[in-house]
Subunit: 378 residues, 2 copies
């Protein structure tokens, strides 16, 4: 157990909220944010709020001085609603509805991602003179959630897009890439930067310099079945080396979502039934796939959360292999088919699902009527 | 194209609502409901509202005289809110939180499913004297969504549960089973009934007769990749034969969800971008996996919706193979990777996703900020 875990587990035990609920440690959230900022001097962090857009989280991050990466005008509205200024917002999705570009521009957002000629034309029409970030496709193999099928211009097209953006009187603000969410190779960010070097060289020769390099998100988080992962320090070390080889040093922007919020938060859920099915003991929880832990289903076997009992268990305890399900009558509502926990767990006991701050509440649906849980702060 | 399709497509074309939205034909909804009722004389239909709990749908079905199968107390609250009486409600999930049983009983619901001793004890404690339906595990192979891992008592345990329920002073109201959602074998319902015959024989010998036999849901719906499916008439024919062999004739209850609502409803979505990726033409829609067509992701390649253009296309038209995605920046937001549609489709055009009334709105999450769409009635 890492120190973060102990801190948040101790905090959780001080409260008794109605389950299921999420509990966020302000302290861990700030530590995570500072870690990213410390990676590179003068860099900026734009938190990808799709990971967790709870207003309390957004307000805390805003207080730290964080920027925000939005995926729709609806998300921009969420940011404005908690008092975040438009000049701290990047509209980072590279394919956007025209109406959303227009509305974002209307409220003062003027940084947009693009990866195609038609997208640049939309931005030029509905957000004239804005700053654009051209998103390049990079190697995202080894990431749990790869994006290259849908997003990113092929590298041989990037220069033409930068030139076309200038032709459309847009400001060629930067280049970006995304190595895929929950990336597992330490050198993917550095390799992506190296692969953009020839493009930057060519542009530089033609007198075009980009202001920022957006190295995206994808920074991995520890789950029960994802323990041996690259550390931020090591990623940064490689990235630094790759940056030094560029013709000049653009400002670094990062767009972490999962990397900032996941380990700041736990989900607390109550056992509503302990039943035996086919000889196996199942714990049925009031927090399941649909209302709480969505990624555990989509990638069942991939996102497996560490689970702890609310009672800290010291010394030797009889352990048992359980399956854990959610509360719905749906066959997919299985959190895990195999986890070792103390054998004494019964109806009414509470379990803590660790590192569950990302892609949980934002993906919750009220299926079978179970509502989206509340999030509480330490 | 079946007549239903033409009717609803014509209706949709009369309106211009903000996309994405769902559009339900009252007429088709009633036809579907009556079909189930006509299957068996004196039978009752309890619509499984997890499939689609829009208040307008619930109100219409209530007006037809339909009953309702709820999966949580939250769903019971939704039913009460539109004026549905508790004596038209069955709480059909076989594993329930004690608090939900208690609250359901408090408002007047007194029919509960169970498939274990501990569940019967909970019902006896929190809803004393209620009527219980013992859910048996049956063969659900061949169904897209199988439930037997999590729900249903093994057949050799059913008799003991009925006896135990009486011991707990609960009313042994009925037996139930579920062949799995989107079942593909015509004889699964009949076989399930036949497999319960020995239990009913034994109980009958001991003077215990059940009042109802709940043959569940699972009645399949036509999707693009699921066309050759059993018809309701043929299912009923087999079921009739199986019923005749029972020692006496209990009342038949059905719990369709998908079977009633799916084909009554279409999803209408607008093209927000037409882009080429790796040589393939993609239509990016404002309605995608997360906000509209959830099952197209979970079982990508399994639930594929038929898609039509808003303009009725007559005669020879150049067709093109497209991929269709939703509006989020997420790699999983792919509705289909291959569908043939007229080649002329461009930004601003509208597409109609057929038979999309079930497990769509109830599973919607506002991921990336895109809100749950509205549902309109013809």
């Amino acid at each position: 157990m890492i120190p973060n875990d102990i801190e948040i587990l101790n905090e959780v035990r001080l409260h008794t909220y109605q389950t299921p609920y999420f509990f966020t440690s302000r302290n861990i959230l700030e530590i995570n944010y500072q870690k990213f900022l410390n990676m590179f001097e003068g860099s900026e962090v734009y938190y990808a709020l799709k990971a967790n857009s709870d207003p309390k989280i957004l307000t805390l991050l805003n207080g730290f001085g964080c920027g925000f990466e939005a995926a729709s005008f609806y998300e921009i509205e969420q940011l404005l609603a908690v008092g975040i200024q438009p000049d701290r917002i990047i509209y980072g999705t590279s394919v956007k509805p025209s109406t959303h570009i227009m509305r974002a521009f209307d409220v003062g957002v003027n940084r947009f991602a693009a990866d195609s000629h038609e997208e640049l034309e939309k931005i030029a029409q509905f957000a004239p003179g804005s700053r654009v970030i051209i998103r390049a496709k990079v190697n995202d193999s080894g990431s749990v959630f790869a994006f290259s099928e849908r997003f990113g211009a092929p590298k041989e097209a990037v220069k033409a897009l930068v030139v076309y953006a200038r032709h459309l009187k847009l400001k060629t603000y930067g280049l970006s890439f995304h190595v895929g969410s929950q990336a597992t190779h330490v050198d993917h960010w550095a390799n992506a930067i190296s692969s953009l070097k020839p493009i930057m060289d060519q542009l530089d020769e033609e007198g075009i310099r980009i202001e920022i390099l957006d190295i995206g998100g994808g920074f991995p988080v520890i789950y029960n079945n994802h323990k041996d992962l690259p550390h931020l320090d090591d990623i940064a070390k490689d990235v630094h080396k790759a940056l030094k080889k560029l013709p000049y040093q653009p400002k670094i922007i990062m767009e972490p979502g999962r990397g900032i919020v996941a380990s700041s938060t736990v989900m607390v859920s109550e056992v509503i039934s302990r039943t035996i099915r086919n000889g196996k003991v199942w714990l049925v929880m009031d927090g399941g796939i649909y209302n709480c832990l969505y990624e555990a289903m989509i990638h069942q076997g991939t996102t497996q959360y560490d689970v702890r009992t609310m009672a800290m268990v010291e010394g030797d305890v009889d352990m048992l292999n359980y399956g854990i399900t959610g509360p719905t009558g749906d066959s997919l509502d299985v959190i895990t088919r195999s986890i070792s926990l103390p054998s004494f767990i019964s109806e009414g006991d509470r379990l803590i699902f660790e590192n569950s701050g990302a892609y949980t509440i934002t993906m919750a649906s009220p299926f079978n009527g179970f509502p989206k849980p509340e999030l509480y702060l330490s």
